[in-house]
Amino acid sequence: MLQMFHVTKQYTRDARALDDVSLRLEKGDFAFLAGPSGAGKSTLLKLLFAAETPTKGQIMVGGHNIHRIQRSSIPFLRRNIGVVFQDFKLLNRRTVYDNVAFSLEVLGARPRDIRLRVTRMLRLVGLGDKMHLSPGRLSGGEQQRVAIARALVNEPQILLADEPTGNLDPELTFEIMRLLQDANTRGTTVLVATHDPEVMRTFRKRVVTLKAGRVVDDTG
């Protein structure tokens, strides 16, 4: 499902954000991407959803070589990838419902389908009664649940989460992680970047550890 072959990403001549990274995730896998800040976790995720291009190496996502696909095909690749960020990236001037519906609107889904699927997804993440509120009026954990609902509503094959619990307290952290685990149970391949050892200990999944842009450990 996800494969990286000797990938290097260099922003400046001296600094390598990623250095000769190889990684493979099969369909339905769940893995943590661990490492301290600046280790290259976010860069690796950005490469996977084609927000960045690698300096060297090849990346395969769902059978497509990211290096070879045209710029105009990137949106279609992203429709198979849900992305969750630490800062949620929600629109506070829209309702919770609108934020989630966004993912389906860009696919050209019919309003009736959008209504059904968004309502079902918001109920699944426990926000069925808050869909008409602005995200700004929700707690951090609830806002992250909205972001997860948005990432999952069009049933992507892959879910990438960049420090999804970085701004949350321990109780909410486990709530969010359980949602990601549920998505994985339904067949979605999940890759979560985190530097929280407690999360990795609790959920006992494969851990790929990055340090200074290199993979230094892989429990898989």
């Binding site: 860009v106 050209g108 309003p111």
Partner: protein
């Protein structure tokens, strides 16, 4: 398809609502730019019409050096009537011309008594057919007039050719000017619309980043921008034409007489509907092009920080 159109129109309307002042400034500026072009085209059209009218009403007048007896003048007129391109011939002896001038002067006609009779010459006036009214045709008739036997020396032949040629020169100059102004207007529209759209996109950058994140194509993001640009262009074009129509009405009502003299008695006309539609459509198309440029520049700067 209808669903998409409704969605894009809704997004465009939302963007317009979110920046009403900016939209007004853009539409007004486009209107002023289009008004300049439309005004120039109106002047060009009326100069064209005056030139055509003058060419159609072309008359050649031969002022005679000597006072030719009426019988000889009539014989000369009869001869001229047979020339190709001559529609009608009119004659005036010195006495008739003097009487006409005195009548035109009215109470001041008495002044003529102290003037040398030779100052008001006898004349032979030819009305020329439209197909002989070009410069070459008129020149040929003038030469034949000069060679006409029995009427003595021809002091001067006047046929308004210089004025007509100058008018045609002015028309050509206006055409070139129109092209230059048209180009400048197009550039102005591109500049205004692209900047307005860029500002609107910048204001919506978070939303657009998320749209890209969830798989929106560039075309999906651009479509509402095209509609917004088209709205600005078409609204600006319509406003310009409304202003021009109003301006022409005021000119006709308030300065009708002066304007009539200025354009040789030819009533001033506005632009034909086809040209007006082309101006509005052109402004809309140029604005859509500007939206495309602005959206492309914005989308190239995609970031995920």
């Amino acid at each position: 398809m209808l669903h998409w159109m409704r969605y894009f129109a809704g997004k465009a309307a939302q963007s317009v609502r979110q920046s009403v002042v900016m939209q007004l400034v853009a539409v007004t500026t486009i209107a002023v730019a289009v008004l300049v072009l439309a005004g120039l085209l109106t002047v060009l059209r009326n100069v064209d019409r005056v030139a055509a009218q003058w060419a159609h009403d072309a008359r050649l007048i031969a002022f005679l050096a000597d006072d030719v007896p009426p019988a000889e003048l009539a014989a000369a007129a009869d001869a001229a009537r047979g020339w190709p391109g001559v529609v009608d011939v009119d004659t005036r002896t010195r006495a008739e011309a003097r009487a006409e001038l005195a009548a035109a002067l009215g109470p001041d006609g008495a002044l003529l008594e102290s003037v040398d009779p030779a100052v008001v010459p006898a004349s032979l006036e030819l009305a020329v057919a439209a197909d002989h009214a070009d410069a070459a045709g008129r020149r040929a008739l003038a030469d034949r007039l000069r060679a006409l036997p029995g009427i003595g020396a021809v002091d001067e032949v006047t046929y308004g050719a210089d004025l007509l040629e100058r008018l045609r020169g002015l028309r050509d100059l206006l055409r070139v000017g129109g092209l230059v102004v048209g180009l400048l207007v197009a550039l102005a529209v591109v500049f205004i619309v692209s900047n307005t759209i860029r500002l609107a996109l910048f204001a919506r950058r978070e939303e657009l980043e998320i749209m890209q994140l969830v798989g929106a194509t560039d075309g999906f993001i651009r479509a509402p921008c095209y509609l917004e640009g088209a709205f600005q262009g078409v609204a600006g074009g319509l406003l310009a034409l409304a202003l021009l129509t109003g301006l022409l009405r005021v000119l006709r009502e308030e300065g009708g007489a002066a304007l009539g003299v200025a354009v040789g008695g030819v009533p001033v006309e506005g632009l034909p509907p086809g040209l007006m539609a082309a101006l509005v459509g052109g402004a809309g198309l140029v604005a859509v092009l500007a939206s495309h440029l602005a959206a492309t520049r914005f989308l190239r700067g995609e970031r995920w920080d």
